[in-house]
Amino acid sequence: MTEARIHRSTTSKSDVAVQTASWLALVALLVPLGLIVGDLLMRGATSLSPQFLVDSPSKAGREGGIGPVLLSTLLVMGVCLLVVVPLGLAAAIGLNEYLRRGGFAVRTVRIALDVLAGTPSIALGMFGYAFFCIALGMGVSILAGGLTLACMVMPLYVRLSEQALRTVPDDVRAAADALALRRYTAILRIVLPVAAPGLFAATGLALARALAETAALLFTSGYVSRTPGSLLDPGRVLAVHIFDLSMNVPGGDGPAYATALVLVALLLSVSGVPRLVRGFTRRWSHPV
């Protein structure tokens, strides 16, 4: 769907006020970002190098690089997304398309999701440890970490996806019905493509949130900075590495900030990918 703009036809004083307010808000949004990233650049840029991305950490991470940590992060994120996107999307579809709108089930599930979204990451980490690592026998591993992370990120993804689905007007669904299309065909071929921008935004935010997660992963995917050999091996993610270096290792600040910069670069590239994918999918989706 092409983006809409409100074109000026009549302007009033309150118009100027709204415009100024939104400009101010944008600035307020970007100022902390600029300050934080600027801080990171100042303290961490000198420790960055191409070798940094490939080498293993040594001397508790103060020397060497973050190669294994990057790999562990990518694996954990992969596991997380593989669970969150299908399951979350299915749940969102279930909530918005199949369960009775406004019914008891829908309301309960939504409340449950919102409460889940508020679980402190430490509590979720301990739960993940007890459930995935111990009860299900995965041990402290990338797999357990990815699954715990999926629990953490799922409510956000489901709620935002649900919202994206809801932006598709009901007349579209009614029209599909009138054309005697099966419900699932209508959903897959019409509703989803129309809701695609919002769905991609949901995925983007969920992935960002996942990359930021520390406490939940510390207890489930682990602290070990070795290169993982399989999904059942432990491995620390970037956020945990940053945490350990800045809070537990004297002299770890420089590499911590450098790692944070790598994370920022990863985040920037992640926000670019959904747009690319959207560009591809636009070809087979027919904007309403």
């Binding site: 409100i6 970002l33 801080d39 909530l95 409340i111 679980t119 935002l160």
Partner: protein, 283 residues
């Protein structure tokens, strides 16, 4: 048909997670609830959880701390997030909007330790210049606001973007002012989405730990001003759990369960308010 089954069961499964987690917390909180008793969590003189009879388990300051920090953060983040999303979608050049979107994406992905460190090294000294110690409710609220504003922005942006161009063009053709268009054509349809974003952000703020621990001061007392230190329930757990034994540990889990209860009540409250506000079953 298959999709219906998958969809419904997926929804139930994810909701079931909450019960599992709540059960887990309560299980570990059991010993404390039995031995210390529910009443003492509110009636004791202070939070000094030493082993033995001198232990004091007053959870009220932490509860109030969580509520205050979250409320303030929401007060700051919700207007800014929504207004910024408004600006991005309707008032600025597309390139600027994309820049802001990427920027927000980065902000959303910054680990709490990074934001906490920035808060400690940049924000706290600045606040300390106004009043010592600088690590305070204000610092906690600001840091939390920074962390939750992306969620609000993304949710609002998604909602604003989904308004059909035809609708806006039509309104413009009718000669409506921008604010008129916003009020009549945009706001009614996006209110549910804005509410979802706000609730997600608020619950996230309630559960946030690390960044808050670094800048809030963590003194277990009810703050009497913005510049007083504050302890949240999450900070309580984070600071003491690694070194707590027995009853103390259990009491911390009880705090965690209390936090879930607080979250639940806020969520339900939020729904009631939004239902009253929009006068419809918007959920």
């Amino acid at each position: 048909m298959l999709l219906a089954v998958i969809g419904r069961s997926a929804a139930v499964t994810v909701a079931g997670l909450v019960i599992l987690i709540a059960g887990f917390l309560l299980l570990h909180a059991q010993p404390a609830l039995r031995e210390i008793g529910f009443v003492r969590f509110f009636a004791d003189a202070s939070w000094n959880p030493s082993p033995g009879p001198e232990g004091r388990f007053d959870i009220v300051p932490a509860l109030v701390g969580s509520a205050l920090a979250t409320a303030l953060a929401a007060l700051i983040a919700v207007p800014i997030g929504i207004t910024a999303a408004l600006g991005s979608t309707f008032f600025v050049h597309r390139a600027v909007a994309r820049l802001v979107d990427s920027g927000v994406g980065v902000l959303a992905g910054l680990p709490s330790v990074v934001i906490g460190l920035w808060g400690l090294t940049a924000l706290v000294p600045w606040i300390a210049r106004i009043r010592a110690p600088g690590a305070s409710l204000l610092a906690a609220a600001l840091v939390l606001a920074v962390m939750v504003v992306p969620t609000i922005y993304v949710a609002s942006r998604g909602a604003f973007k989904s308004i059909p161009k035809t609708c806006l063009d039509g309104a413009t053709a009718l000669g409506m002012t921008r604010i008129g268009i916003l009020r009549a054509a945009v706001l009614p349809t996006v209110k549910p989405a804005l509410a979802v974003g706000a609730v997600l952000a608020i619950t996230r703020a309630l559960g946030e730990t690390m960044a808050v621990v670094m800048v809030a001061g963590n003194v277990a007392a009810i703050p009497r001003s913005l510049f007083d230190p504050v302890r949240t329930l999450t900070a309580n757990i984070a600071l003491e759990l690694p070194y707590a034994t027995g009853l103390h540990r259990s009491a911390l889990f009880a705090g965690g369960a209390g936090l879930m209860a607080l979250t639940w009540s806020l969520v339900v409250l939020g729904r009631c308010i939004s239902r009253a506000w929009s006068g419809e079953h918007n959920d």
